[in-house]
């Protein structure tokens, strides 16, 4: 093809014959118009500019026009949609989609097929919303009825439906229209492209849709089960794309939990996905295979372990990060069209490089979610850690997101926290994401989870993170609307307060404020309440003077908080935490007074000592034990007071308790009793 310099302006008058009263002349004009615009963006644009669309639409609608001519017109529309965004948009503006959909209901098979193909092409452009095919329930069922007509039709319908499967609603509409059964028939086709499109459609329908997965299990057509077809197409005699799509369907079904693993996943699907990640495969396949694999193994340790040893997966995936397109052309001495092509090519490659990185991070995140051994191997693989850290500052949000996910999985490793993360100052970009108002909830969530891990006691990063304003940031999170964010906020604070210095503890208390503590204690999310109590317990631990400092400042509120929880409707676990917190307070010096002077609390302690839940009993006894500890100042007075209210009697009763832990604690408490 000679292109570029051959663009000749075709005068409008050329197409005047389209309006000729003689049908033969119109037919000839339509045909030459069709031939003229094929492969030429410029010509397509001109057609639109010259306002010929209206006439073409007119030809299509008019009943007397020969179906052959109509077919040509439809093909012209298909061709125009392949032009620029502008031409595609002009088509939908002219209402072509609707007309083509109507055009499906005609008796000419060739015309119908042309309509289908043009629709596929039109919906391929971003300008046109696919939603319209759901505007009338008859459309879907009619599309399905067209499938058996020819291979072209079934391919076109499958592509349309795949495209149209954008939401759960769409999936369900298609399911209820009997799409799986129709597709099951297409799967008997010997034509690879038909098989592929059918499988793609099945994959789109079953993604995160358990209902669909169940339907697939029970669907069959022409005596062949849909499942049988799908499993058959994972076979290695088929081309890679087909294997990939079949594996993708099985992955989605497996994640819906509709079938028991009996080797199909481990010996068929997983190896196929791993294989298709290899560098010999096409880039698009590698991306899709890696993403599917990441999803497949996301929550299953065993699959993660198998994947980690399969076919050099870690190396292969790491190579995604270094991917470079193999051919580089020189920019000099090229025509404008060639330059344009090159630019497009470069853009495409940059996008693919991005997609590859994203997919790789997802695979790493899944691989390292649970197994420390795998994490270690990942760290040792170049250039995983640098890439993850580097990607945190990427301009593309999706890449950042996938990198954080990966970091999150990796941050579960104690060893990593101590070494690699320290070296790479990973918290910096994390903090940036957390403090940026532009960040999405999703990324803040994963970033804060990661931060929680980084704030664990043994993490050397802890100090640095504190210095960069972690306390404020986490306190801010506890005020978020999203419960998971609040949880991560409190969780982070809890990790932060564990074994920390008085300075940090005070900072947390002042920054968070008692009001917020109460708000969190009455949170609807039980986990938030638990972690808040955990935070309070951490604040009230370690040195006695820590405890006393805190209680001297917030004693009243803390006691209120305990009473508040103990009187609430919360579960035993929550109340146990409250009692433990009381025990922590009782461990202080001056703090003890807070409890002993509070008749209400003492009464509650007594009743919990006799509670039917052993854990609660134990926690109460520990609290008592702390109160009566012999060596401490004022022990006698407290013992006397407690004896007065009958605590010792209860302790003696509990000596015969069945639970060994409780018995032990009771014995220790009684040992402390000097009287």
């Amino acid at each position: 093809m000679v292109c570029g310099n051959m663009e000749v302006e075709v005068p409008r008058s050329t197409w005047d014959k389209l309006y000729d009263p003689q049908p033969e002349k119109v037919a000839i004009a339509v045909k030459s118009l069709k031939n003229c615009i094929i492969g030429s963006k410029k010509q397509k644009e001109q057609i639109v500019e010259q306002g010929l669309l209206a006439r073409l639409v007119n030809l299509l609608v008019e009943p007397d026009i020969n179906p052959r001519v109509k077919t040509n017109v439809v093909q012209i529309f298909g061709s125009i949609s392949k032009g620029s965004e502008l031409t595609a948009k002009s088509l939908s503006d002219a209402g072509v989609v609707k007309i083509l959909l109507n055009g499906l209901v005609n008796t000419e098979p060739q015309l119908t097929e042309a309509c289908l193909l043009s629709l596929v092409s039109i919906f391929d452009s971003k300008e046109t919303s696919i939603e319209v095919i759901y505007s009338d329930p008859a459309i879907i069922s009619h599309l399905l009825s067209l499938m058996p007509h020819s291979t072209n039709s079934s391919v076109a319908v499958c592509r349309l439906l795949t495209k149209g499967c954008e939401s759960l609603d769409h999936q369900n509409i298609l399911l209820n229209s009997g799409t799986p059964k129709s597709i099951c028939e297409v799967l008997s086709s010997p034509v690879p492209v038909a098989q592929l499109c059918a499988l793609q459609c099945l994959a789109a329908m079953v993604y995160k849709n358990e209902n669909a997965a169940h339907v697939y299990l029970s669907t069959s057509a022409q005596g062949k089960s849909l499942m049988g077809h799908i499993v058959f197409y994972t076979g290695r005699e088929h081309q890679e794309e087909i294997q990939l799509e079949a594996s993708r369907i099985l992955t989605y079904m497996y994640r819906c939990g509709v079938f028991e693993e009996d080797g199909l996943i481990v010996f068929q699907v997983l190896p196929c996905l791993v294989r298709l990640c290899k560098k010999e495969e096409r880039v698009v396949n590698r991306i899709l295979a890696a993403e599917t694999l990441a999803y497949l193994i996301e929550i299953d340790v065993e699959l993660q372990q198998i994947a980690a040893i399969s076919n050099h997966l870690i190396c292969t995936t790491a190579s995604f990060l270094r991917w470079e397109p193999d051919h580089r052309q020189k920019a000099s001495g090229m025509s404008r069209v060639q330059m344009n092509k090159l630019t497009q090519q470069l853009e495409k490659e940059a996008d693919q490089a991005k997609q590859l990185r994203k997919a790789a991070f997802h695979v790493f995140a899944s691989l390292s979610a649970n197994d420390e051994e795998i994490r270690k191997r990942l760290i040792e693989t170049e250039p995983v850690v640098q890439s993850v850290v580097g990607a945190l500052q990427d301009s593309d949000e999706d890449v950042v997101m996938s990198a954080i996910r990966c970091l999150h999985s990796l941050s579960r490793s104690v060893q990593l926290l101590r070494t690699t993360f320290q070296d790479h100052t990973v918290w910096e970009p994390l903090m940036k994401i957390l403090s940026s108002p532009a960040s999405k909830v999703e990324s803040v969530l994963v970033a804060s989870s990661t931060l929680c891990n980084l704030l664990l006691d043994f993490s050397p990063s802890k100090e640095k993170i504190l210095d960069s304003g972690a306390v404020e940031l986490l306190c801010e999170l506890t005020r978020k609307y999203d419960p998971s964010l609040r949880l991560n906020g409190v969780w982070g604070l809890m990790n932060l307060s564990f074994n920390s210095e008085q300075r940090i503890k005070s900072q947390i208390m002042t920054t968070l404020g008692t009001d917020q503590v109460f708000r969190l204690l009455s949170d609807t999310e039980i986990q938030v309440v638990m972690k808040t109590l955990g935070l309070l317990r951490n604040l009230l631990s370690n040195e006695k003077h820590h405890i006393d400092t805190i209680t001297s400042l917030y004693g009243k509120q803390l006691m209120q908080a305990v009473v508040f929880i103990l009187e609430s409707e919360n579960s035993h676990e929550v109340k146990e935490q409250a009692l433990c917190m009381l025990a922590n307070i009782a461990n202080g010096d001056t703090s003890k007074k807070l409890i002993v002077d509070n008749e209400d609390v003492l009464k509650k302690l007594k009743s919990y000592m006799l509670h039917n839940n052993t854990n609660l009993q134990t926690a109460a006894v520990v609290c008592i034990q702390n109160l009566i500890w012999r060596e401490e100042e004022g022990s006698c007075d407290r013992q006397a007071k407690l004896k007065d209210i009958g605590v010792f009697n209860i302790l003696n009763q509990l000596k015969t308790a069945e639970d060994s832990v409780l018995k032990e604690k009771v014995k220790m408490a009684l040992d402390q009793a000097s009287m």
Partner: protein, 504 residues
């Protein structure tokens, strides 16, 4: 094993089926049909390492070779290696330590590529694990599996003629081998299917040496000539109509041959000889060997009762034959035309149904890969040996005639090559038994013996008319087969996946 490696000719290149009792170091003990290996040395240092090779090297015609071992016990330290090595490698070593030796070791999971130091490769393995080793003979790469999971390629560019091998180093180590006598844990068939697909793609992507578009013409010509050759006249006609090809022989001539072939295949050799002499007078006169073979067959058929000496061509046969004679003469110049004159490829003639082709299918079947058509005609021959005709030996008059015929044959034998006389002696030996059907030489009576004679006769007729004695299609199939054999001998593993019978 045969199913796993269909391309392997075990006469030339036997497959490994067990460990060799001779080709091993002293510290290795074998049991359970030489499939179980155990260590019986001291196992103190690496000098106590000890290996065993399989009985035979891996034939290249396997395409992809695979074996598995199960670690029955890891023994004291689990210093076990699984791999491949050449014949001359020292057995007082673990696989992979020496030149031309390659191994995967259980204690550290490293792979050893002709070197004392390993490279991180896979997981470690121990008691209960099943380790597989696969050798791709197309590209010389080797991979391992653990419990059925592919661990990835370990070595590349391996030399040919490697033996499966295992090595042990500490007491208590026991390994069981599976050379394919049991199902594998790993899906080798899947791996093979992929290689087959790749090989097929490679073949179909090869560029056609001549001008684009000629390929189809040539293929159609091959199909057509095959049909003509075997006298599938109706099929050939239909095919020619669909493809626009012309047939290289007059239809009547084709029918004549068909007629003769039918006679031969029906065992009516005498009639066949007569008809041939009538239609193609020169042939049998110039080809005494062929005549001799035909007559020997006739003798056999007489024993079996399918033929008699009295040749009484039915009237319609005679007249038809006379007619054909003229046609045959007239057709000579047509047939002399070069096949190359015919081109014009049109659409493929798919789904040609065969009308009334009575001749049984030739033993050499057409492979549809070459033809792109479903033109394999020929219903199975109806005749079987089920209803054995009563032996001629029971009828004294006929028996006498038979003896006489045999004497004539003996005379004719003077004129033919020495080695051909053997078949006459064999045929005569039938008379030595009272019931030839149950004699050790009864094999001659089988109808399949007619096919060879029929084929030779058919070829001779065609050659007499300057047509190829073998159809090009059969030549090319035979040629490919021969090439595959050469490939196998030259250690080109792809031959395992290029067999015309297997490719579809």
């Amino acid at each position: 094993l045969k199913i796993l490696y269909p391309a392997v000719d075990e006469e030339d290149t036997p497959l490994p089926r067990a460990w060799s009792t001779k080709d091993k170091f002293n510290y290795i003990g074998l049991s359970q049909n030489n499939l179980r290996v155990h260590y019986k040395g001291h196992g103190k240092t690496h000098k106590d390492a000890s290996s065993v090779r399989a009985t035979h090297p891996i034939p290249s015609s396997c395409g992809l070779y695979y074996f598995e071992v199960k670690i029955v016990s890891k023994g004291r330290d689990g210093y076990m290696g699984v791999g491949l090595c050449a014949q001359d490698v020292n057995m007082n070593r673990l696989p992979g330590w020496d030149k031309h030796s390659y191994g995967y070791h259980g204690d550290d999971g490293h792979s050893f590529c002709s070197s004392g130091t390993g490279q991180a490769y896979g997981p470690t393995f121990t008691t209960g694990d099943v380790i597989g080793c696969g050798l791709n003979l197309i590209d010389g790469s080797c991979f391992y599996t653990k419990n059925g999971h592919h661990l990835g390629v370990a070595f590349q560019d391996l030399p040919p003629n490697l033996y499966p091998t295992v090595g042990l180093q500490t007491p208590g180590e026991v390994i069981d081998a599976n050379f394919g006598q049991e199902p594998f844990l790993f899906d080798v068939e899947g791996e093979m299917r992929e290689l087959r697909r790749r090989t097929r793609n490679l073949i179909s992507n090869l560029s056609w040496p001549k001008k684009h578009g000629e390929q189809q013409t040539v293929l159609q010509k091959m199909v057509s000539s095959y049909l003509v050759h075997h006298g599938y006249s109706q099929t050939a006609e239909t095919f020619a109509r669909c493809t626009g090809e012309e047939i290289s022989e007059e239809l009547t001539s084709m029918r004549n041959r068909q007629q003769i072939q039918k006679l031969v295949l029906d065992g009516r050799i005498g009639e066949a000889i007569a008809t041939t002499q009538q239609l193609y007078p020169g042939i049998l006169r110039n080809n005494v060997d062929l005549l001799f073979r035909l007559k020997v067959r006739q003798f056999i058929e007489m024993v079996s009762g399918a033929d008699t000496l009295e040749i009484q061509p039915r009237p319609e046969d005679a007249s038809a034959a006379g007619q054909r004679d003229q046609d045959g003469a007239a057709s000579m110049e047509v047939e002399a035309r070069s096949e190359d004159n015919q081109n014009q490829a049109m659409n493929n003639g798919n789904n040609i149904s065969n009308g009334n082709c009575e001749t049984p299918s030739d033993s050499m079947d057409v492979d549809s890969r070459f033809t792109d058509t479903d033109s394999n005609p020929a219903p199975e021959s109806e005749e079987t040996t089920e209803a054995k005709p009563s032996s001629i030996l029971a009828n004294p008059a006929k028996f006498e005639a038979l003896i006489k015929f045999g004497r004539g044959l003996q005379e004719l034998a003077q004129q033919v090559e020495k080695e051909d006389v053997v078949i006459l002696q064999e045929a005569f030996s039938l008379l030595a038994y009272s019931d030839p059907w149950n004699s050790p030489v009864a094999g001659q009576l089988d109808v399949s013996g007619r096919e060879a004679v029929c084929y030779t006769l058919n070829s001779a007729i065609l050659e007499s008319k300057n047509l190829p004695g073998r159809p090009p299609l059969e030549i090319s199939v035979a040629h490919s087969r021969h090439l595959l054999k050469l490939m196998a001998n030259k250690d080109l593993g792809a031959c395992a996946f290029a067999d015309p019978e297997l490719i579809n």
